[in-house]
């Protein structure tokens, strides 16, 4: 299994540009999450999904949109990028039930907005 994968690994945008980050997991997990991590800080939840076709806001949702059209994919969109969105973005997934709430993380996408 590849686990959780993210594309792209790096991206540089200009202010106002748009882009989509892709997260894919091959573990058949129901839940998926998007976080951002800023220098010297922990992870903050942007949006999450508890199943195909469902999404919900996290702690810092403004400026981002998400979609979960397929169970294995979770997309994070920036419609009009701002310098404040310069960060490292991590996707995570977890199963439902089974006695564990552990989230498994992807390798991250480093985004710079100029």
């Amino acid at each position: 299994n590849a686990g959780v994968t993210q594309t792209p690994k790096f991206r540089v945008l200009k202010t106002g540009q748009s882009m989509t980050l892709l997260c894919a997991q091959d573990m058949n997990h129901e839940y998926m999450y998007w976080y951002r991590q800023d220098p010297g800080m922990g992870l903050r939840l942007i949006h999450y999904s508890v199943g195909e076709g469902t999404t919900a806001k996290g702690e810092v949702p403004d400026g981002y949109n998400v979609s979960r059209l397929k169970k294995q994919n979770f997309l994070l969109g920036l419609e009009s990028a701002a310098p404040s969105q310069t960060s490292v973005y991590f996707c995570a997934s977890r199963t439902h039930g089974g006695g564990t709430d552990t989230q498994y993380f992807g390798p991250g996408t480093r985004l710079t907005v100029l």
Partner: protein, 111 residues
């Protein structure tokens, strides 16, 4: 809102010694806790977890202790190795589907 915090932002430890990383949490309703390790340029990696009905749990070279009375969580790493150098995060589960992460502690292993 509820949050998870850490006492020490940086911990320097001699190779071979034991490391102890501390974490305070504020939500008494938290029922599940996880420790993650994050190496430079990588995503967080699961180390060990513990549920609120337990006080202690051991893994390979790691032990997590939970003190619900004072809302304190710790991670002990035995015989710390250079490969243990990383940032360690604690996280708590309070709302079923979501985790709240602490700010992280950097562990530096000196040869």
């Amino acid at each position: 809102g509820e949050s998870v915090g850490l006492h020490l932002p940086t911990l320097s430890v001699q190779e071979g010694d034991n490391s102890i990383i501390n974490c305070a949490y504020s939500n008494s309703a938290s029922d599940y806790f996880i420790w993650y390790k994050q190496e430079s340029g990588k995503g967080p990696q699961f180390i060990i977890d513990i549920r609120s009905n337990m006080d202690k749990r051991q893994g390979q070279r790691v032990t997590v202790l939970l003190n619900k009375t004072v809302k304190h969580l710790s991670l002990q790493i035995a015989a710390t190795q250079p490969g243990d150098s990383a940032v360690y995060f604690c996280a708590e589960n309070t709302q079923g589907n979501k985790l709240t992460f602490g700010g992280g502690t950097r562990v530096l292993v000196k040869p």
